[in-house]
């Protein structure tokens, strides 16, 4: 379903100690060195600020209709002198302000959906990996089965019956995306359980709860964060699709997907109404994917040296006698 490779699941145990030695500063430096990842991270940060502070930062009231300023193209000025960076829509509402408020909905659905499915999935996955037995058997069967079913179709049908809306979307996403987390959490648990430090924690009489919370989970954080980031992107895209079909967010709330659906009616006259919200989705998902790829590379023990050590000068002459 998502772009997650299984190879992120396999972190050798001995990397644990060395991982600690690499400081946050080294990560920050590596991020500065990787221009693409750095730009993506900055973009996401700005987006979060814009979404959170939309009511303060947006140049216009997103719902204020201004019939004198209908269909102003991007970078255009309305008759009343108002400048519109991304133009206005059929009611003369400022597209840029609407995108900022839409970001709030799209981002919070992505974040909340990933958070809820992550909590459910990780809990189940860790328990299955830790206690094995029947629980694991049943869970993995459910995971395999659900991953084989077309999730968009099922989401549509449930939303059709229970009705659309923000809360229902989160519910559906939790229901249909926990498996991804469960699968990875289980395999990570299995990997770590064979390692010495878990045995040692057992030997000194640590309780199951303590072992899971203080030994297992902290060591699973980095691959799970990578997965979490990717899932946010997947969910933002799913939300857009569902809203586009009319089963997601409902007016007066507005998400990027819904904005595209509305703009579609004016596709031949006001292209920006379709292009801009879609571009916002595309850039956000792209930035999330890029940051996830960077985070995966930097936490992958095989590739890490490439990022955490300064690059060798290019075109260095090869000296065979050196």
């Amino acid at each position: 379903m998502s772009a997650v490779d299984t190879n992120t699941a396999a972190l050798p145990e001995e990397e644990h100690d060395r991982a600690v030695a690499i400081t946050w500063r080294a990560y920050a430096k590596a991020l500065l060195r990787d221009r693409v990842a750095f730009v993506s991270a900055v973009f996401l940060l700005l987006l979060l600020i814009a979404a959170a502070g939309a009511h303060l930062l947006a140049p216009y009231d997103p719902n204020h209709a201004n019939l004198g300023a209908r269909f102003v193209p991007p970078l255009g000025t309305a008759r009343d002198g108002g400048f519109h960076l991304l133009g206005t829509d059929e009611l003369g509402r400022d597209l840029f302000s609407r995108l900022m408020h839409g970001a709030r909905v799209s981002m919070s659905i992505g974040l909340l959906g990933a958070l809820c499915s992550g909590i459910v999935g990780i809990t189940l996955g860790v328990l299955a990996g830790f206690y094995r037995g029947l629980l694991e058997d049943l869970l993995m069967r459910a995971v395999d089965g659900m991953m084989a079913l077309p999730s968009l179709l099922i989401a549509l049908f449930i939303l059709f019956v229970i009705g659309p809306g923000f809360a229902n979307l989160i519910l559906i996403f939790t229901l249909l995306h926990w498996m991804v987390f469960a699968r990875m959490a289980r395999s990570l648990t299995l990997n770590h359980q064979q390692s010495t430090y878990i045995t040692a924690a057992r030997a000194i009489g640590g309780s199951d709860r303590r072992i899971i919370l203080t030994h297992l989970l902290p060591n699973m954080v980095s691959p799970l964060i990578v997965l979490f980031t990717l899932e946010i992107a997947v969910l933002i895209l799913s939300e857009a699709s569902l809203s586009f079909l009319g089963f997601g967010v409902q007016a007066p709330q507005s998400s990027w997907g819904l904005m595209i659906a509305r703009g579609r009616e004016y596709i031949s006259s006001a292209w920006w109404l379709v292009v801009m919200p879609g571009a916002a989705i595309f850039l956000t998902a792209l930035a999330l994917n890029l940051v996830a790829a960077w985070a995966r590379a930097i936490t992958d023990p095989v590739q890490r040296w490439r990022w955490l050590t300064p690059p060798r000068r290019k075109n260095q002459p090869v000296d065979h006698d050196a």
Partner: protein, 323 residues
Amino acid sequence: MPYLLRRFLQSLTLLFVLVSFVFVVGRIIGDPALIMLGTSATETALDQLRENLGLNEPIWRQYLVFLGDLAQGDFGVSFRYGFSMMPSDALRSEGTPVLPIVLERLPATFLLAGTALVFAFALAVVLGCLAAMYPRSWIDNLVNVISLASVSVVQFWLGLILIIVFSVQLGLLPTGGYGSWQHLVLPALTLAARPLGRISQVVRSAMLDELSRPYIAAARAKGVPEWRVVFVHALKNASIPIVTITGDELSQLLTGAMLVETVFAWPGVGLLLIDSLGRRDLPMAQAGICVVAALVILVNLAVDFAYTVLNPRIQMDNRGGRA
């Protein structure tokens, strides 16, 4: 138990679970009469419909009747499809059986998904192989960009962009509809974007894997031309992960077609399904979902069959579940 038989039984189980799920969601979580007539319907109309549909029976009986009907290919009748009158009037008629209507729409969906897959697959194999042959070249970068973009873009938006460029601005191709090859171009391209990115990425990494194996050096050492080393020696061995991802993408295509069909008014199962949901036509929607899901399950099964053909050495019983 032989591997394929076991997989077949698993697929049947999955189908059964799916059908039961449709029953539970449609009939227990929701009230079919309310779904079909809407909240504005009168109490008498609702009661009459409940009576007609047998909704006053005990739930376990309803479930058995539902399963029995499905087994005979009876997905119920639609009171909406092809009726222009008020729903309450339509209810007095016999209704239209839904399954034939769904099946009628299948060829259009197959044509669209098939074209998209063939196009994406062929291009992805060539691009992926070239990227593996020349790591860090411009073509390798291109494959990276395509695969990243393809998982970041919303399909329906891509379709709309293509409409803006090729239909609205350039006037080259129709904005939607069905009939000539011109109608097929834009929807097929839209649908092909995602599998193109995913498959080319898998081809690239599988080929990089194979190209580093000893038999490749041996083939080069005996003087086999490079194109043959890549496209015959390595590609044949890389075929298993490629078939896996292609199968996954084909099932994605079948559901992805839903959005693309909506954008381009392409009369396939997806468009029918979305229209039925909009018309609150529960039986039609149920039939559409069951048919599409059955196709997805069938594709997964077919991929497993393909494994046994591609590599008779596979220890089928040792292989775990597939995503």
